[in-house]
Amino acid sequence: MNFVADHESLHATGLDRLSASNSAEFKQQVLLRMSATCRLVELDCSTVRFIDSDGLGTLVGIHKRLAVNDGKVRLHQPSPTVRQLLRLLHLDEIFEVTP
């Protein structure tokens, strides 16, 4: 897991999965590095093979933090399976999904 942060954003890369086994740690790392004025958390999903409901719940929690600053979570290049999952759960309506 690698993070690059500035005042307004946090970029997370190198994640292979986001599931019950690592989502708590992921959330902790993000909150630790996120500035108070952060308005965007972008997760590079090109390396993410698997996300489960715990992982998605974590992203929803981060989204709620950002919403205070009118911010958002961006998922960059998720796999077709993850896209399908987001659609199934209507989470593509609250996260920004970029190709």
Binding site: A20, S21, F50, D52, T58, L85
Partner: protein
């Protein structure tokens, strides 16, 4: 999924993977990946792999997340079973359990939890949660996605197929090894065959072993009745239960899984998901739990059903245990059919013995010597057909050097006919005072025998002739028997004496006319049974009295004594039948005036 589809899906060959993981999230991911790889090796497409990866992760995560504090040291069980049509997963947890919802709504978009169950429901076709004290089982099932159709399999597909074949071989080898115990049992039974003739005892020991190996608590064995309409109980195990099961009507396939299995030629599983019908008789033995019913057949004919049951509802029988049931019961079916064949052979042997007895009786009735009655000479024969009939003849010395000649045919075959012949012989022999009045003799014999004959719907045809050498006459009376034939050598013509009354045993008060026939020198008389006149030639034509008359005349013309005449006549009959075995007894008495 319909009940038929469920049972059909379970009858197929399934291969399975069983894992146990420690109760922690870190172990879940590795287990899910192992399952994914196992399914991938067996050719499941990516869509199915992704679906199972996520559904399993959700399910096993829940098993870890909600595990009771005092049960964290217990493993979480994962069992995957792959069939031709679907994949089934069973996750065993040690949580407090919860009521599995019929429907799960998607939580609000900003909710951080509550999506797991929704995902499980969305990704599977069937799910149920079996709750039990201490542990629960989540059962998930998803139909396999049909593979995309391509004309030429690529290298990857071929490799997958090869892998499948190798895995199947490995599975079969493993199953063979695990069948060692059953093989040993079956060999033991084979060696005991013959030593134990009692089918029930044999079945009981076989079923007990099967129950132990297949971990069953109950077993019921039923056999199809000989008329094929019912399933009759042979065994209920354990034997100490006092339950009685009435026979099941084979037509009652709706109420009884046993009848349904036998009629539809299928294995039927029952349990919490597919409970026994309200009126299924098996409920008396297996009120709860689950089981399998297997119908067994020999030469496409249902022989019976065997049902195994388990008290625990959450532990259904596996495909391997069903195979075990098949092996044992099919072995038993062969023994049952063999036992029935043995019974039939025994019955045939009894029948053969009965015929031998009848033949002995018939032989014992015939006179060993023929008394002289000059100037007449008498010859007689009784040739038995393959199936012993009721023919007999008797030649009894009478007063003044006369002879009483009796020839009779008891309707029917075998021992009963032979016994009535014996009774008739004794009855006649007990009335020497009536020997010179054959008509009265027949009437008295009829009155005596009528009650016994009519009770068993039998009758006897008989001809009695009193040969008086002094007056050179024969006085005859006939009870429905073939007419006496008389031949005069000088005319070379034979004629029939056709006067006749009812056979014995038809009417109690029948009167029989007596006919007196002169027997001048060179005259000959033939008394015979219908076996002679009903002799058939190669074309199937019956000889009949018309052709017997000239045949008899020729025998007299060509020979000079009774014995030679008899042999000539029998030879002519044999020629006529083209030397075929007799269809009926050939019995005759030939009398010749030698002077």
């Amino acid at each position: 999924m319909s009940a038929e589809a469920v049972s059909a899906a379970r009858r197929e060959f399934r291969t399975s993977l069983r894992l146990e993981i420690t109760c922690e999230f870190a172990a879940v991911r590795a287990a899910v990946l192992e399952v994914r790889a196992w399914l991938a090796e067996r050719g499941l497409p990516e869509a199915d792999l992704s679906a199972w990866e996520l559904a399993l992760a959700e399910a096993v995560n829940n098993a870890v997340k909600y595990s009771k504090a005092n049960a964290r040291q217990l493993p979480v069980g994962i069992e995957i079973s792959l069939g031709e049509r679907d994949v089934e997963a069973r996750i065993t947890d040690h949580t407090a359990g919860f009521d599995w919802p019929e429907e799960v709504d998607l939580p609000d978009a900003d909710s951080e939890s509550g999506r797991g169950l929704f995902l499980i429901k969305s990704l599977t076709d069937y799910s149920t949660y079996l709750r039990h004290t201490g542990e629960n089982i989540l059962v998930l099932r998803r139909a396999r996605t049909a593979p995309a159709k391509t004309n030429l399999p690529d290298v990857c597909q071929l490799q997958n197929r090869l892998t499948d074949a190798e895995m199947a071989l490995t599975d079969m080898t493993a199953e063979l090894s695990s069948s060692y115990e059953s093989l040993v049992a079956l060999f033991r039974y084979s060696s005991e065959l013959g030593a134990h003739a009692d089918l029930k005892d044999f079945s009981q020991r076989l079923l007990k072993d099967l129950m132990q190996i297949a971990e069953a608590d109950y077993a019921v064995l039923r056999l199809v009745s000989t008329d094929g309409n019912k399933l009759q109980t042979l065994l209920i195990l354990p034997g100490d239960s006092n339950v009685q099961l009435d026979a099941v009507d084979m037509a009652d396939a709706l109420a009884s899984v046993e009848a349904a299995a036998a009629r539809n030629c299928e294995d039927i599983w029952f349990g919490p998901e597919e409970p026994l019908g309200k009126h299924d008789p098996l409920r008396a033995v297996m009120p709860t739990g689950n089981g399998i019913c297997h119908a067994f057949f020999v030469a496409n004919q249902p022989v019976g059903t065997a049902t195994l049951g388990r008290q625990r509802a959450d532990k259904p029988f596996t495909a391997a245990q069903l195979s075990l049931l098949h092996t044992f019961v099919d072995f038993l079916a062969i023994q049952i059919v063999n036992a029935r064949l043995l019974d039939e052979r025994t019955a045939a042997r009894v029948t053969r013995r009965e015929l031998e007895i009848a033949a002995d009786i018939q032989r014992s009735l015939l006179p060993s010597t023929i008394p002289a009655c000059l100037p007449f000479e008498v010859a007689a024969a009784c040739q038995s057909a393959l199936q012993v009939g009721g023919d007999f003849y008797d030649i009894i010395p009478a007063a003044d050097g006369a002879l009483l000649l009796v020839i009779a045919d008891v309707m029917g075959k075998g021992v009963p006919a032979a016994l009535f012949a014996a009774v008739l012989r004794s009855t006649i022999r007990s009335m020497p005072q009536l020997f010179d009045q054959p008509g009265e003799l027949l009437a008295t014999a009829n009155r005596t025998l009528f009650p016994d004959l009519s009770r068993v719907d039998m009758f006897i045809t008989a001809q009695i002739a009193y040969l008086n050498p002094r007056r050179q006459k024969i006085i005859s009376a006939n009870a429905g028997h073939c007419p006496m034939l008389v031949c005069q050598r000088k005319t070379a013509v034979a004629t029939a004496v056709s006067e006749s009354g009812f056979p014995l045993g038809i009417e109690p008060m029948t009167r029989y006319a007596q006919v007196e026939t002169d027997l001048p020198p060179d005259a000959a008389v033939l008394l015979y049974t219908d076996g002679l006149s009903e002799t058939r030639n190669a074309g199937g034509d019956m000889l009949g009295e018309e052709k017997l008359l000239p045949m008899f005349a020729q025998a007299i013309m060509q020979t000079s004594d009774a014995l030679a005449g008899k042999e000539f006549l029998l030879g002519s009959l044999d020629d006529y039948s083209n030397h075929q075995p007799l269809l009926d007894d050939h019995t005759l008495i030939l009398i010749r005036h030698l002077a």
